[in-house]
């Protein structure tokens, strides 16, 4: 079978096009479309506790396509299976079932990791090395020659804002510095695909801005980026599409625009002189009224009743200061999706899906 073109989650239609059997992985597994940077088919991870034999489903039948040059945000609450997915893609975990391809190479082959850069969540480094030594080491591991590794290490240490003290040992680095070093290590061999697990976590606003710019720059270079994050405004700014994972299952893949489209738009009206204002009965349930120190904020949930509300306010001689349409944020949509899935789910699993019982920090 061939991965779907449209990148939608779930059982997407699969067009029999180029079919090339992959040696050694069974006749049913075919190479993915050349335009896909990441393709997963029925990717599943089940954790089994060897002592209690308790089974925890980390990831369930993930079918996901990421096109080349695309930035995909991978969202989900803690324990949803985000980190599990990224670990499966980068060879740190072995799938229980299914397979995936990175830039057309199946993940069970070491070569699949040749052109990728990976930043793990809260990266740890060898504290006896200094910044330049670590980056040189990372470059050599990614196949750069000694000279290239040294050159790239110097370049990326500077790009990460750590170039002033290249001989500072890593045990003296702050959390933000380590995060930036990890990003530099993921980028120094010019990867075609970046997989970043919570790249903004632990960073101050300046650090977040730097990382955002770095991702944006990579996107402009045509690098595909898959990153998980809890910081939804960043996802909203950077991503072409977002994938939402809940309890080990992919529930939705869409552009931010598609997600927001169709959702109800709210309108906020700020006014003064409405201290004793009472909402008339015909607008009850449509207008929410909040008093603040110097103003009253009315939130209108039905856009089509705006004229009616404005008419009522003018009639009541209320001074209207601003009328602002508020788009539903990705955060609100995400929360709504998560709560919807939570209410639909049946009995909770013994541990959160997405992580083994011992560790639940996806």
């Amino acid at each position: 079978m061939r991965p779907a073109q449209n990148g939608l989650a779930g059982n997407t239609s699969i067009v029999p096009d180029k079919k090339w059997p992959v040696a050694g992985v069974g006749a049913l597994q075919m190479l993915p479309d050349a335009g896909l940077a990441i393709s997963t088919r029925d990717l599943t991870k089940v954790y089994r506790n060897p002592w209690t034999l308790q089974v925890v489903r980390g990831l369930e039948g993930l079918d996901l396509d990421v096109r080349r040059g695309e930035v995909l945000g991978y969202l989900g609450p803690n324990g949803a299976g985000k980190t599990t997915t990224l670990k499966l893609l980068t060879g740190l975990h072995k799938p229980t079932r299914g397979t995936a391809w990175l830039l057309g190479v199946p993940i069970h082959e070491t070569a699949s990791r040749r052109r990728i850069g990976f930043l793990p969540e809260q990266p740890y480094f060898y504290d006896y090395l200094n910044g330049i030594e670590y980056l040189e080491f990372a470059g050599c591991l990614s196949g750069l020659s000694g000279g290239d590794a040294h050159r790239q290490a110097r370049h990326w240490l500077g790009r990460a804002g750590l170039g002033e003290r290249p001989r500072l040992v890593l045990r003296k680095y702050s959390k933000g510095m380590l995060q930036r070093l990890g990003l530099a290590a993921a980028l120094l061999h010019d990867p075609e695909l970046l997989i970043l697990d919570e790249p903004m976590s632990g960073l101050d606003p300046f650090g977040r801005r730097d990382v955002r710019e770095l991702i944006q720059e990579q996107k402009e270079r045509g690098v595909t980026v898959l990153f998980s994050s809890h910081i939804l405004p960043d996802v909203e700014i950077l991503c072409d599409r977002v994938a939402i994972l809940l309890q080990g299952r992919l529930t939705r893949v869409a552009t931010v625009g598609e997600l927001v489209q169709g959702s109800r738009q709210r309108i906020e009206i700020r006014c003064t002189g409405a201290g004793t204002l009472e909402v008339p009965a015909n607008l009850d349930g449509v207008v929410e009224c909040r008093q603040r120190s110097h103003e009253t904020v009315l939130t209108l949930s039905a856009e089509q009743r705006l004229g009616e509300v404005l008419e009522w306010l003018l009639r009541s001689r209320i001074q209207i200061r601003t009328v602002t349409p508020n788009r539903v944020t990705l955060e609100e949509l995400f929360m709504a999706t998560a709560e919807g899935a939570g209410s639909r789910s049946e009995a909770p699993s013994p541990a959160r899906a997405g992580e083994p019982a011992e560790r639940r920090t996806a």
């Binding site: 980068t90 740190l92 975990h93 740890y124 990372a138 591991l141 196949g143």
Partner: protein
């Protein structure tokens, strides 16, 4: 290339470890202290120095294996530094081989440093002629430590630091007495004797790397012995690393 990079990094880690530096300094101090015992050796002081010096190389080397080697892989898994390595185009067998080579390299440096210190001490006392036998003995001690490193890498890849240190220490003790173990097996009924012989054959045959008595007498061993010991160490290390790689291949990193 990648094996060399991992080996170099592991070597750097081991040599920057204060434990290793401390062990080397302690070894040199111990050799100097043996000079206090020389008057008791009735003119055989240099024998005593060589015997105790070579023993300290073996024992202190083993101490480094236990202290630094037992957490070689497990520490990487626990601290998650392994994510930065295995998410790159590196096969797990390559990673284990690199770690083994780097640690073994550090142990060779420890053995060579202590061996050079021992030779310098002997030279100061007018016994510089023991150089060739001493060099052979240090070479065999290095091979012994290389074999033990392969075992500690395997145990460290599959277990906790404490357990891997205990397993390696057990293998070291059984390995030292592997010849006695075979002789001991004959006193048991065939079933038990067979099991003891299997254990004796599985643990490393460490007496093959011991020429302390010869070196103390100033004698050298044959090239054949050195060749057999080298071949045995190479084959044993290869087998252990293959076993470790097979078990490590399917491991998930939490």
């Amino acid at each position: 290339m990648i094996v060399a990079a991992i080996a170099r990094n592991t070597f750097r880690e081991a040599t920057r470890d204060r434990v290793v530096t401390g062990v080397v300094l302690f070894g040199i101090a111990a050799m100097l202290l043996t000079q206090l015992l020389s008057p008791l050796a009735l003119g055989e002081g240099h024998r005593l120095t060589i015997d105790l010096g070579l023993t300290s190389i073996s024992v202190l080397g083993m101490l480094v294996v236990l202290l630094a080697g037992s957490s070689l892989i497990s520490k990487e898994i626990e601290k998650r530094t392994i994510y930065n390595l295995l998410s790159r185009p590196i096969g797990r067998p390559v990673y284990l081989t690199g770690k083994w080579a780097g640690m073994a390299g550090a142990l060779w440096v420890v053995a060579a440093t202590l061996g050079a210190a021992l030779w310098a001490l002997l030279a100061l006392r007018g016994h510089a002629g023991h150089g060739p036998s001493l060099a052979q003995a240090v070479y065999l001690a290095g091979l012994e430590l290389t074999v033990l490193t392969s075992l500690v890498v395997m145990f460290s890849a599959l277990s906790t630091p404490v357990l891997s240190a205990l397993y390696t220490l057990g293998a070291y003790c059984l390995g030292q007495w592997s010849g006695d173990l075979r002789g001991f097996a004959h006193q048991f009924p065939p079933g038990i004797a067979g099991a003891i012989e299997v254990v004796a054959n599985l643990v490393p045959n460490l007496p093959i790397f011991n020429m302390r008595s010869l070196a103390a007498a100033g004698d050298t061993t044959s090239g054949f012995h050195l060749g057999v010991a080298s071949g045995y160490a190479a084959v044993y290390c290869a087998c252990v690393l293959c076993l470790a790689a097979a078990a490590f291949e399917s491991r998930d990193f939490k």
